[in-house]
Symmetry: C2
Subunit: 351 residues, 2 copies
């Protein structure tokens, strides 16, 4: 499936619109010179930026529209009044087969609602899932769901395992990704019923994943699995808590390395190592959260990202399109759902 790829970009999405999207596309083009872009948005605002990147301009087509969805618009508003907006057109290009994936820095709620409306979810999937890359002390891993499916059912959690595995295959080129289910280890307490049931299904079903059972919160960063499956409320809290802790630690390190003249001199000597550390934790490197479970690929870029971050999101979309993820996933999900339907005895145990 290698070769020419077209990626549609919501050029008006994010805090800075084309000022970030166009240079971001130019950066992504350096790594993937075969890519073509559709830039959905206001021609008069896009063209000045595009003029600065002749190579990109050559490989881009503007899909003009004067409407855009605001960062504060509610999903219901976006669905009702968003038709023809830059976000809408970017996703519609995927639905029409004119693009292999869409990338937007627009607001998450609107992007999810419009994606679902235009692309529809895959058979058996109720809502798209938000997945993200998580840095570990080894390689990155994938954590999902990050907030779209609050109180996910056992069935949904089992689906997340396959959706995350497909993403791991696309991004990390691992054939049988190691998958773990996030749980808590307080021994006296029965875990959440949904998590237990999903565990039973994943353990008993023959799937194209290497299911490793339960993992705890402190193991995500150890990189012992490639995919961590969790219900959306706890997943979002885990992600935010990790981000907060990383910032807190960075503040402590800064403080430690500026606490005296000797410390400042020390930091100067260790500069190269510290710069590598900063790069390693740079959130721009992990930008690009796919919505999984749709009949098409949509990548959410963080609204506050710069061009480097936006380019990361484009790369995620490229790799996912390249892996033919949607077609493979449809087959895997069908197999899982068939086996779950057969395995009713397991389900009955729960009641």
């Amino acid at each position: 499936m290698a070769g020419l790829r077209t990626i549609s970009l919501d050029a008006m999405g994010g805090d800075r619109g084309p000022a970030v999207v166009v240079p971001g596309a130019a950066l992504a083009l350096e790594g993937h010179p075969d890519v073509k872009f559709l830039l959905a948005g206001d021609r008069t605002r896009i063209e000045p930026y595009l003029a600065e990147y002749p190579q990109l301009a050559e490989r881009s087509r503007i899909v003009h529209t004067e409407t855009a969805i605001g960062m504060q618009d509610k999903p219901s508003q976006a669905v009702r009044h968003g038709r023809g907006s830059s976000m809408w057109l970017a996703i519609e290009a995927v639905q029409k087969g004119e693009a292999d994936c869409a990338v937007s820095g627009g607001n998450t709620g609107a992007l999810m609602a419009i994606s679902k409306l235009i692309l529809k979810t895959m058979p058996g999937i109720e809502r798209p899932v938000i997945a993200g890359q998580w840095p570990t002390i080894r390689d990155n891993c994938i954590v999902l769901d990050l907030g779209a499916n609050i109180e996910a059912s056992a069935h949904q959690l089992a689906d997340f395992a396959l959706l995350g595995a497909a993403m791991a295959r696309a991004l990390f080129h691992i054939q049988r990704p190691r998958v773990g289910l996030l749980n808590i280890g307080v021994e006296e307490i029965k875990g959440v019923e949904e998590v237990k049931q999903a565990h039973a299904w994943l353990k008993e079903t023959d799937l194209p994943i290497d299911y490793r059972g339960f993992v705890e919160g402190d193991q995500i960063g150890q990189g012992i699995v490639d995919v961590v499956v969790v219900e959306g409320y706890a997943g979002n809290i885990a992600l935010k808590t990790a981000e907060g802790t990383a910032k807190q630690m960075a503040a402590y390190v800064r403080e430690a390395l500026t606490s005296s003249l000797a410390a400042k001199l020390g930091a100067l000597l260790a500069e190269r190592g510290l710069r590598a550390l900063r790069d390693r934790m740079d959130p721009r490197r992990f930008n690009g959260a796919p919505f999984l479970g749709l009949n098409g690929i949509v990548i959410k870029s963080h609204g506050g990202m710069d061009a480097l971050g936006f380019a990361s999101a484009i790369r995620v979309g490229y790799d996912m399109a390249e892996s033919d993820l949607v077609a493979h996933l449809a087959a895997d999900l069908e197999a899982l759902h068939g086996k779950i339907a057969q395995g009713k005895p397991t389900e009955a145990k729960q009641a």
Copy 2:
């Protein structure tokens, strides 16, 4: 309520029993020379350690027993066969009024089950809550529940706010602690119903707390509230994820500061600042997780802690006993429950 305090210790609890408990008590005694100890456990195993600390020996009484609850025993086993064990006797001393609080490094499930059996929960409280101290860039804050109440109801979450506030008053000496409710900010998605309902109750009810509304995971470490309220599954995952991220960051920093000869020299120069950083994040400083909502004070010490960590847990117990927490809490909870019962219209909205 100042003055003579007696603290009962499960001397056989934790990975190393009296080898940690006795030196831990000796350390705690340095800060609180007025304290007396009851040491529940095997006399022949406690006395050799006690002989090394004459001042502690003078202020301690051994409550002899030859049975102890194992770190792997199930709560149900512990309740059935644990009568007369060191953990049991330590808690029973609180129930009999012989001690002001109990501290144990024994297994969480057994400790919770036996505490509940002997001390009983306060009126309107179904299960004890596990609370912990969390380092922030300002002062510490308190996070609860850390895993005892999976899928807590709105009513329980509202109780947690008062329980956590009482602990903040005891440990931080803040009269009206700032309390936040952990939630997620993905804008399109309705939050968990229980969280919304608890939010409404806390906002509308006149309580001895400064209720600040919702906080997100990345705000815990910012120290913007003194108490963070969360359901036990997500709370446990948040705690473990933060611990994991802190370790991961520490590993990165170590790597950065040993990556070259210059970096190593730099680390040497910055040694004092880096040592302060290590101290600041030292988990032994945050050891001691109270079970709240019981008619008495029980502190869980991490099973793997050393004497310094165990001394921290004793100090938490001392401060909580000092504040007369149980009596005050009973009054606050009664007021809340009365107001919730009156405010049925709010509850009806949920349905």
